[in-house]
């Protein structure tokens, strides 16, 4: 009988847990360790952040779902891995610290046969002085609670606009190495929609502050679309939307500091700028969660398992070759940790081998490089892939071939949807196939048949549909397994 431990209950970890509980015979244990008691459908935090949805619409308690599925749940954070066991046992283990009110601070060592690291991101607001809702001067939509604060701040700005006061609203990235530009893009689209709905758009200046060197980069180096028989770029497509909506874009930005009502930043040309704001939603850079690794004798082997960023090294090419030389084949396929055939790192937890967007430096040496996105659809697919590999190894022996799901052979949809209701919303909807461009297979890096961008009400319907479908799936309700990741 095998013991499987999953660190994290986000999209990838939760997906892995559901599939393992479905596919494994009785007798094996699946234990999920997550510091949060609730599951959060993060894409819909955007709607919470403009007051269109409440927190209860985007979260639900994990414990009842795991109880129903026979999965053990520890509300705790993982702090250490012993991949070769410890002085007491050769069986590997993880150290956790409980975070539930009943057991807060209690430590526990859990033995495992298979480990899935799906710890997600550490929100590193501290990398930019004054950034974020925890003692900083900006809001965020990274968590449902952050989004509630953002909605309140936006409402206050709209109230001032209604009283005739001009307002500057800034949305974007709080550091030069941020990822998830798509989320900031969606949020600015929603803010613009709310301002128009409130009838105050003409009094508001809306600024999109981004680390992307070009609009429409989205951390994936942009996309080429087939539009009526012509190749067009996501840059032109996104620029059109910004122009139509009157949203100002400031590109190639590294935010250096935020003071009350003022954001300071450097641009790619090395110039320093300041922008006064009344409302600012700036996303933080991501890092791996603090997780150390130890050998049997207790010596620290963290650098063996993790990259300096805190993300886990997997079956990718980390040789550090120049950006111009990277290949789609450098990207991981199995997500097995380097040197271990029983540890997987999925979702944001794995270390990308390199940027997809071209990394740039300012003349002063500041790195401005959007990090590769690996949330949403790819996260779920990776979680399922790890689960299938574990199931095969348990059923057919440790030599069973690991399942593969490379981001260079995986598609994704990104839908920036605004508004509520079936007739009043709108959306900018994109699909890309594959996420990591493969120039050996496609002249433009991606399959033009499936790499598309379109604007309209239908994207809004898709986003609403995905909201309800994925929450249905995450609750493990009837037929959940037939809903693709």
């Amino acid at each position: 009988m095998a013991d499987i431990v999953i660190l994290g209950a986000g999209v990838s970890g939760h997906t892995a847990a559901l599939h393992l509980s479905r596919l494994l015979p009785k007798g094996h244990t699946v234990t999920v360790v997550s510091p949060n008691s609730q599951w959060n459908w993060i894409p819909s935090n955007i709607w919470v952040g403009v007051g269109k949805m409440s927190k209860k619409d985007v979260v639900f308690p994990l414990a009842p779902v795991y109880a129903k599925k026979g999965v053990q749940f520890r509300q705790a954070k993982a702090v250490g891995i012993h991949p070769r066991g410890d002085a007491e046992s050769q069986r590997p283990a993880v150290d956790i610290v409980h975070t539930s009110p009943a057991r807060d601070g209690e430590t526990e060592r859990i033995r495992y046969d298979y480990l899935v690291n799906a710890t997600g991101p550490q929100l590193k607001f501290q990398m930019t002085e004054g950034l974020g809702p925890h003692g900083g001067h900006t809001v965020s939509v990274c968590t449902a609670d952050h989004a509630i604060e953002a909605a309140a701040a936006l409402e206050a700005s709209i109230a001032k606009l209604k009283s005739g006061q001009r307002q500057t609203l800034v949305v974007g990235m709080g550091h030069g190495t941020c990822t998830c530009e798509g989320a900031a893009f969606e949020y600015v689209f929603n803010v613009d929609h709310e301002l128009r709905e409130a009838g105050v758009r003409d009094l508001a200046r809306v600024v999109y502050l981004t680390n992307e060197a070009e609009l429409g980069d989205f951390g994936v180096g942009g996309m080429t679309f087939d539009d009526m028989g012509f190749e067009t770029s996501s840059e032109l497509w996104t620029g059109s939307l910004f122009r139509e909506r009157g949203v100002e874009a400031v590109l190639g930005v590294h935010v250096t500091k935020v003071e009350p009502g003022v954001v300071h930043f450097e641009t790619l040309d090395g110039q320093m700028h300041s922008l006064a704001f009344d409302f600012a939603m700036l996303l933080p850079p991501f890092g791996g969660v603090p997780l150390a690794a130890y050998d049997r004798d207790g010596s620290d082997i963290t650098s063996e398992l993790f990259a300096p960023s805190g993300f886990m090294k997997v079956d990718a090419d980390y040789s550090g070759k120049p950006y111009e030389q990277w290949k789609a084949s450098d990207w991981p396929k199995t997500y097995l940790a380097q040197g271990y055939d029983n540890i997987w790192a999925v979702g944001i937890a794995f270390a990308p081998p390199h940027q997809i967007s071209k990394p740039r430096k300012t003349p002063t040496g500041t790195m401005i490089a959007p990090s590769p996105p690996r949330t949403g659809m790819p996260s779920g697919v990776m979680g399922k892939t790890a689960a299938l590999s574990i199931v095969d190894r348990i059923k057919h022996g440790p030599g069973a071939k690991a399942h593969e799901a490379s981001m260079a052979n995986m598609g994704a949809a990104c839908i920036a949807s605004a508004g509520a209701g079936l007739r009043t919303g709108s959306a900018a909807a994109m699909t890309m196939m594959p996420i990591v461009p493969d120039y050996d297979r496609y002249a433009t890096g991606r399959d033009l048949k499936d790499t598309r961008g379109e604007l309209g009400l239908s994207g809004h319907w898709v986003k609403l549909m995905l909201h309800y479908l994925f929450i249905h799936k995450a609750k493990g309700r009837l037929g959940w397994q037939f809903i693709p990741e």
Partner: protein, 58 residues
């Protein structure tokens, strides 16, 4: 290309020049809200997602 726009209280910020980005025509804006057209687009978009799922490493 950038132009410099700011309010007097701010240091100028380099706002991207989007004046060459195409604007949608009135017909395009109507199509984006047309329920019959958007129902078709909805079906097409979902078909594309399913095609990606079926042919990729999903």
């Amino acid at each position: 290309m950038t132009d410099m726009t700011s309010t007097p209280a701010e240091t100028p910020v380099p706002v991207a020049d989007l004046s060459r980005a195409p604007l949608p025509t009135a017909a395009t804006l109507r199509k984006r809200k047309s329920v019959p057209i958007q129902l078709t687009r909805f079906a097409v978009f979902n078909t594309r997602i399913m095609r990606m799922v079926l042919k990729g490493d999903h």
